[in-house]
Subunit: 235 residues, 2 copies
DNA sequence: ACCTGAACACCGTTCAAGT
DNA sequence: ACCTGAACACCGTTCAAGT
């Protein structure tokens, strides 16, 4: 099959009727290519023009399948939301289940670099995202939370994962292309005048505690929020 | 004084030595002009070129005073952090004090449109921001939190305010230039198939509960986080 | 129906040159 | 020392025209 392209043009082939050998654009193909760019280079590298280049078409061709960059980002978020699994609620251990869902969501986000940035301050509307919210609400109700508390928590929890995943990935990205960033930051805080910022100076070690692979700050926030929700669940 | 500019050129004045009548650029002036743009039109409207236009200079002139757009945004964040007041800690009522600081920070952010977006995923370094962190840490220690818990909380709390303020301002901005946005969102959620998303369908009213001026979702998250922290404060 | 080409109105940043 | 002019390498989006 590969050799065919090296043959001379058959005399009956019309030059006029030739179309590009590339497969026609689809929303799925566009989503996959966009995600590949984000995975390889991060959210900032994703532009309509770069995406078109990757797909071998002109930038304007994309607008036949996607209304604009906003919609493209929504499609990416919904696509990766499909990777998040939410278990059937078990009222006995809803807190651990809740934490596991949050961890799973965080891991899906950080697996796609700083994609979480596209999810900040965007109200979820895609089917996969709504599916996750639905299962999350079921879990919260199983935990004994009131209807309104569960509804508010379904905003707070995704806000927390999204912000945490975004911060983590941004820090990772910074360290990638400037490995001495953490050291510079540490040196800056160490050089702060202790008379003007006494508590910062006193807690320097604790403030600079490095996040390990499991993200201690994320686990802390998760613990605080779940404890707070549990306090509201008690009758 | 004003009439002087209407006089003919004095014969001894050199055309060569004339400089533009505009005041020379300063970091303070640049910060003020940038903030004015954000206040008037939002963070997306702030560009180095637009800012230069506002100041009556070429874009490249800015780079003599500011290393780039990143630093400019840091300067804006630190500038508004100066508007946040943090009281001296009173161990008896540290939880209410903490909430008040968070509310004050939120209000400062939303007073400057979606400026909070510039604070997301950026580690604080400016003097005013560090000052707020210092006072915040003092408050948390006064509440009986351990050193490491206080340090983690000093990350979690600003993350929460920033994300909340950003979401609020973005929603407000969307409603501003598309007043039917909330209705469209409501209609979308109402049209979701109840068999696929049973809990979302069941909690539709609670999920769509509108945020009033005081931002009920923010108050909820604040309550959850402070309860969680208080649970960790107990010995 | 789907795509191309070209254009419009923007970006952040650099750098030689001017005063 | 401070700023201008011009350029470089990009953006998102539109729209007439082509096949």
């Amino acid at each position: 099959m590969v050799f065919v392209s090296n043959l001379p043009e058959p005399p009956w082939s019309s030059h006029v009727a030739r179309r590009p050998a590339r497969a026609p654009l689809t929303r799925e193909g566009i989503t996959a290519a966009a995600l590949a760019i984000v995975d390889a280079e991060g959210l900032d590298a994703l532009s309509m023009r770069r995406l078109a280049e990757q797909l071998g078409c002109g930038p304007s061709a994309l607008y036949g399948h996607v209304s604009g960059k906003d919609e493209l980002l929504h499609m990416l978020i919904d696509h990766v939301a499909g990777e998040v699994e939410v278990p059937d609620p078990d009222p006995e251990r809803w807190q651990e289940q809740l934490k596991d869902v949050m961890r799973a969501t965080r891991n899906v986000f950080v697996a796609h670099r700083d994609l979480a940035g596209a999810s900040i301050a965007n109200i979820p509307t895609g089917p996969n995202v709504v599916r996750v919210v639905d299962r999350l609400l079921a879990l919260l109700l199983a935990g004994g939370l009131s209807r309104q508390v569960a509804a508010y928590a379904a905003d707070l929890l995704p806000q927390f994962v999204t912000a945490s995943a975004y911060e983590w990935s941004r820090f990772e990205q910074r360290m990638e292309h400037e490995p001495e960033y953490f050291e510079r930051l540490h040196a800056y805080y160490e050089a702060l005048p202790a008379d003007r910022f006494p508590v910062v100076a006193d807690l320097l070690v604790e403030l600079m505690a490095p996040d390990e692979e499991d993200d201690a700050r994320f686990e802390f926030g998760l613990d605080v929020i779940v404890r707070g929700l549990a306090a509201l669940a008690e009758p």
